[in-house]
Symmetry: C2
Subunit: 639 residues, 2 copies
């Protein structure tokens, strides 16, 4: 693992220096990401079941990325599994911004949970209800139906042996007045549907005969607060919808439309504006992508179906490019148009990007915001979408108080996703965060463990022996070494001890502390993304599948106790991320910055997203929605 | 026209005596119905426009069948047309019951009004607003936005020269307590979407762990009040949904599902249970249908596109039948399974049909109903759909008070669709009814007009001369003659005058009155169907297209004044109707009773409904939804 990490590290550095390679990596990483993260994993069936004894009760709260990934990978024949969620479906959230404008339909990106669990070997029960109280003392959860007619009958208790909390987060308004009442959020399917209606409503309202120009402009001012991937995608989708479809239906008011993105930070998408990629890169991307999508099935027959999808889409994509080339719209398969950076593209599209602005109040009449340059200003708006920050759900806040985490902002788990402070409870996805143990807290124990001969000093060899375990237990050590471009143990000790050439060089505890003094600065919180949640669900399912076996421990050395940990801690692998920028452009995120990857690249994320769908049903529906959109445009009915 | 009517009369009598023919007619009538009623009619372009003078303002209220049909056929270059409706789309309402269970998606059966009017030559303006007051004295309408934030700004006035009211009706609760609060209706797209959520909600609620058997049964009792086509279709769709899709996802509770249809009358669908069709009929249907769908395009190239659709679907249908035949599921293309009548089929499906029951109260706990046989009973239910009767919208009630129709139940128009009691206002579709002038009211004038030589008596020849005009002006005369199987004038006068052989036979006014004494019993109210509304819209558009020309009057003789009417009065042509019965069966209505037309016949209405769609977009979407349903089943997510 460590060596793999070093390989990745070296490679990613190489990519950053040579943008040509980055493009290549986007494709490979993006594509294989779909496969690694979302393909059906066959759970190991070779393990004997505990017969006679009642199965342990596993209660899963939620049906989002984390919970669904957990359920899909869990060997459900070993446990009595119950799933509780107020939504009886899984939603492919990365396509939510597309739902807001009808590029894909809401039903195309959701899959009923019962469809997912029906395919499992053991019976999994699903209750469509909301957990409103977790009772870790009695190992049970209190649930009720969200909309209830006869309140008393609709409340019930569920006991658990293991509780998996994966209920996600809610939008965070940061207690800014008026946000809750006046802004749309973009976390659930219903939110996307409401936004769609609201967009059409703004256009219809602006078209009424009794309004003056100012009022029309107000109604057609769409404000997006938050310049993260969701906000940027929504802005791009909305711009495409307006320029591609609504301009034909509302010709009289279409020129009055204004889209604004308000971001408190310096850049939207935290994209470095200088990091655009040159034309040659695009050409290589094209070649590599062709090889990748046509050649890969030969090597990986298991994933053939997924690849077949990409295959078909990419064939369409390149035929389309070829067609445009033949009719003269694009000279050399998209090469001549050049590559833009995002802010420039948005400016050209007429999307107003306001960076460095902080919203302080939202009222019916306008959004009040403040910036160093301008002071407080208020702008009228027709519709506002709030897509910044995530907040903790009330049930989690209540749970945190019970387990002495009341003073924390968000539920903390250890590196094995176990909630700190209570037993048999796991939390994953957006509702929790891994609180990584600091090296400095354990430094004496680490020294003691490494110092096998109890000499009071460590030799380089002794460090080398435990280094892999330490890197597994404390990933920040590895990150630190990578960030300092250290190739091995010698580099790490150099600072504190000078040149470490001989194996006999010895470190005292103080020198050891000094060598590792800065590593904890590399402790990072994982982003609240679908990818993290899915990987955590997958990881936890694999742990649960092995939990009841008597296998040897596979984790690193225990530092404070003897022996080894049962499992390796969870480790996130970032596989890249996409954000469509409207038109035919897409941004991609490598481990590092966001980059704009040029024209005709929407096919790339089309094919990756199609591959990532949880079922063939949604895969085909999403593809047919895209086709529908290309043929008939997006629907503008107010429903 | 009269002769055509006599031909139809004779033909339909022949059909009723020989059910074989009826089947044949269903196909021909159903199929050509789609073409006659819904195909794009090219409005006449040869009429010179009034230049220089400002165009007359036509205001259309509504975007349903009547309004859309009017707009599609209107020569909009002649008028300044404004459309006002709270819905910015047209909905293909016959497929609403399919939307309730996800057989087709809501968006597949709607077409944005702006898409429809964009294709017209002259500019048509559309305001998404609700007309809340009609002011015929000042010739203007008051409108507002249905959902309004700043109430004062969102109200506006629109002036008109001609007002076309086509706002449809609302559900009629007959003031039965609790219906409004506890029942779903099925008139709008939103209703269908709510029902869909509610059905899933009932299943999820019934699956919860804390319920006893009784409560589960209550939640899964679906009650449909009203045994008309909508109610029957919904019951059939729901049964298909439960048995086809939900039984796999909710295996534990699926046996507890009960569907009840409550009808106050003697039969559901007013179907005569003895009127089923024999097997040979089905065979002939098959042959005719093949000839029809393959041969017709040769003769009618204009409608080729529509036919091509039917063509493809019917080919699929027969290939499917052939496939079933080959695998032994159906012995001779559906012949051997026999044909069922509806009530029998529903009983076999486990749908409980309660005829002769009148609902008296609906509460949260149950539906109370009464019948002669049982007295008052109350049944618990999970979801109730109210699909009986139509009621007048408040704006129409208010309008009726202003024009002295306050004591009527529904807005009355004359035979030219002009609202009685005010000028320049037309009403069509479900919001109005044609109050046909009685012959007996005008009998003296009719006599005076017919008596050209002022002799005080009428000869048979004099009657013959005006008979066609009278039949056009008073269609009940024709209906009366048809119902009495009279072939001509001689038969009509026979009763009052004995045998009328010689042309010289003369009738006094008393004898003439006696001859026509019973004709007014044939005055019939038109059903509140899409077909009537579409034909009315089409008719009115043609009148409007000619209104400003100086053509010769084309209507019948004026009875009370001199000269002729400008236009012929509206005459409804019934083109048959379908109601899918679930599974692969369909009921069809000829002019006369509903009949069940056997297995594999759902393809018939599939192809007719596909043909009837207003645009290629909806046509393809509906067909792709059907395909989706066949491949993946219906979606069971609660959104």
């Amino acid at each position: 693992m460590r060596f793999a990490a070093f390989f990745f590290d070296g490679a990613s550095r190489a990519f950053r220096n040579r943008p040509t390679f980055s493009k290549l990596a986007v494709i490979l990483v993006g594509g294989s990401g779909g496969l690694v993260a979302y393909a059906d994993a066959k759970s190991e069936q070779d393990i004997g079941l505990l017969q006679g004894t009642p199965k342990k009760k596993v209660v899963v709260l939620g049906t989002g990325w984390a919970a669904t990934s957990f359920l899909r990978n869990l060997d459900s024949s070993k446990y009595d599994v119950q799933v509780i969620s107020p939504r009886n479906y899984f939603a492919f959230t990365p396509l939510l911004p597309s739902v807001t404008c009808g590029t894909v339909e809401a039903r195309s990106i959701i899959e009923p949970v019962r469809n997912i669990i029906r395919k499992k070997s053991g019976e999994i029960k699903f209750w469509e209800a909301e957990c409103f109280k977790i009772d870790p003392a009695n190992k049970r959860v209190h649930c009720h139906r969200p909309v209830t007619n006869s309140s008393s009958a609709d409340e019930f208790l569920v006991d658990y042996d293991y509780l998996v909390i994966a209920i996600g987060a809610r939008a965070n308004t940061f207690n800014i007045p008026g946000v809750e009442e006046n802004c749309h959020f973009l976390k659930e399917i219903e939110d996307a549907q409401k936004i769609r209606r609201s967009v059409m409503d703004c256009f219809e309202r602006a078209s009424l005969p009794n309004l003056d120009e100012e009022e029309r402009k107000k109604n057609l001012h769409f404000v997006i607060v938050g310049g993260g991937p969701t906000g940027v995608e929504f802005a791009a989708e909305l711009h495409d919808f307006v320029s591609g479809d609504l301009s034909k239906l509302y010709p009289s008011v279409c020129d009055l439309v204004k889209i604004s993105v308000i971001e408190a930070g310096e850049h939207i998408l935290t994209m470095n504006s200088s990091c655009t990629v040159d034309k040659a890169a695009f050409c290589i991307k094209l070649l590599i992508y062709l090889c990748f999508s046509y050649g890969m099935p030969l090597f990986n027959s298991q994933q053939f179906c997924c690849f077949a999808t990409m295959h078909v889409i990419s064939t369409m994509a390149w035929l389309w490019s070829l067609f445009r080339f033949l009719i003269g719209k694009e000279k050399v398969l998209g090469l001549t148009k050049g590559l833009l950076n995002l802010q420039e593209k948005f400016r050209r599209d007429g999307i107003d990007v306001k960076t460095g602005f902080k919203v302080v109040k939202v009222s019916h009449n306008g959004i009040t915001m403040t910036a160093n340059s301008t002071g407080e200003i208020s702008v009228p708006y027709g519709m506002a979408v709030w897509s910044t920050g995530i907040g903790t759900r009330p049930v989690i806040v209540d749970f945190m108080k019970q387990i002495d985490q009341g003073n924390r902002r968000v539920l903390a788990t250890d590196e094995w996703l176990r909630v700190r402070g209570c037993d048999g409870v796991y939390a994953l996805g957006d509702c929790a965060t891994i609180s990584q143990r600091k090296v400095m807290e354990d430094i004496s124990e680490i020294f003691r463990v490494a110092d096998k001969d109890n000499s009071g000093t460590l030799t380089a060899k002794e460090i080398q022996d435990v280094l892999e375990d330490i890197c597994i237990r404390y990933p920040q050590v590895e990150l630190y070494m990578r960030s300092k471009q250290m190739s091995g143990i010698a580099d790490l000790l150099k600072d504190s001890k000078g040149d470490v050439k001989k194996e006999a060089t010895e470190l005292s505890i103080e020198e050891f502390k000094k060598a590792l003094a800065d590593v904890d600065s590399q402790v990072k919180t994982l982003p609240a993304t679908a990818q993290v949640a899915a990987q955590q669900g997958n990881y936890l399912a694999r742990c649960f599948n092995k939990l009841l076996n008597n296998d040897d421990p596979e984790g690193p050395l225990r530092i404070r106790e003897s022996g080894r940990h049962r499992f390796r801690p969870f480790r996130y692998k970032h596989l890249g991320q996409f954000a469509p920028l409207g038109g035919e452009q897409t941004a991609a995120q490598l481990p590092g910055d966001w980059i704009s990857i040029g024209h005709s690249s929407q096919w790339l994320w089309y094919s990756v997203y199609a591959t990532k769908q949880v079922s063939w049903r949604t895969r085909i529906l999403v593809i047919s929605d895209w086709t529908k959109r290309i043929v008939f445009g997006r629907d503008s009915s107010c429903i």
